[in-house]
């Protein structure tokens, strides 16, 4: 049932690149307005056009970019800004760690590309396919397609936003931030296949709501850890009560 029977020829490099791009295409619905908003926000925070685009290109993270603009506008010290960026990156540390078992055959220089492009959307579309055994060939090209499409779109939209200036209406007022939230909710629902996952989701949700007072989105990291520990704890507890042969691979879907 799982990885052993390849029914068709493996995808060509080109097909895999396109498959990657196709996988993140729905996220453009949010990336386009958010990218434009970022361009507007950069200039209105007092950054030059060079700095606005440069920062967007360097961090490749909407959250780090928006928070960075706000801190620079507030006149925060550079150690505070750098530290905040690092803390925001903790979630990405989790993503990268989860990918470790899957990137063995990816050449070292491609791992730079993979790491640079590893944002929420890319991680979630890729991990789903990696765990289902649907992404086995030319993984690096799938990642390049998935993150390249979003990166190029985001930077283009940043430039558009800068040229539009303050003519752009507020993204949140129009609710343009909702599509990406809906996609995350759909991923949660589709991945919710047993009560252990439900326990992980519930405990992470409660934790993040209780931890909302914490600065720098630390609540998200804390909640991720609590949810993972609860889910894993449930699994280890049930595994102990059963003969362990069948349990191991059950959860991949």
């Amino acid at each position: 049932m799982s990885a052993a029977d390849p029914p068709e020829a493996p995808p060509t490099p080109r097909q895999q690149l396109l498959a990657g791009a196709r996988s993140t295409m729905p996220f453009l619905a949010s990336a386009i307005p958010m990218g434009i908003a970022g361009g507007v926000l950069g200039l209105s925070s007092g950054l030059s056009e060079f700095a606005t685009l440069g920062l967007a290109m360097a961090v490749n993270s909407g959250t780090a970019q928006f928070v960075g603009f706000a801190l620079i506008a507030d006149g925060a010290s550079w150690p505070a800004i750098i530290l905040t960026t690092l803390i925001l990156g903790l979630r990405m540390l989790l993503y990268s760690t989860i990918l470790i078992p899957y990137v063995k055959e990816v050449p070292q220089r491609w791992r730079i590309v993979l790491g640079f492009g590893l944002i929420d959307e890319v991680f979630f579309v890729a991990i789903d396919r990696l765990r289902n055994g649907r992404l086995t060939h030319h993984k690096h090209l799938f990642f390049l397609g998935a993150s390249g499409l979003l990166y190029v779109t985001w930077m283009t939209c940043t430039v558009i936003g800068m040229s539009l200036g303050s003519a752009v209406p507020d993204v949140e007022k129009l609710g343009l931030d909702f599509p990406v939230i809906a996609m995350f909710v759909a991923m949660l629902a589709i991945g919710l296949t047993n009560w252990r996952v439900a326990a992980a989701i519930g405990s992470a949700g409660v934790t993040v709501m209780l931890a909302q007072g914490l600065p720098y989105n630390l609540g998200v990291v804390l909640a991720a850890i609590v949810g993972a520990v609860v889910g894993a704890g449930c699994e280890l507890a049930t595994r102990r009560n059963q003969p362990k042969a069948s349990e191991q691979k059950e959860n991949v879907a």
Binding site: L55, L94, S96, K104, L188, M209, E235, L236
Partner: protein, 106 residues
Amino acid sequence: MSMLLLIIGMGLCSFLPRYLPLALLAGRELPAVVETLLKYTPPAVLAALVFPALLTPSGKGIELTLANPYLIGGAVTFAAGMISKRFLLSTSIGIAAFYLGRWLIG
């Protein structure tokens, strides 16, 4: 000049957490406990991102009411996802519900 250095610094702080585990540990067999933990991390992260976005969309406390279109859209997306298990379908239905809710609430 100092802005350039700041941008480079921020870029590194954003890049290194995503890259270093891939560079240093790739292909390493992780301990079974760690693997089990990592299996439940994606849904936990998603939940941590989604709950505040749906429950406190304006950042002014929990809005557990029908006048919160984020909550309505999120609930519809979730139900559609549980029933259909199809990504684009449930996302589209949820986004439609969100905008319908916004329009009705005014």
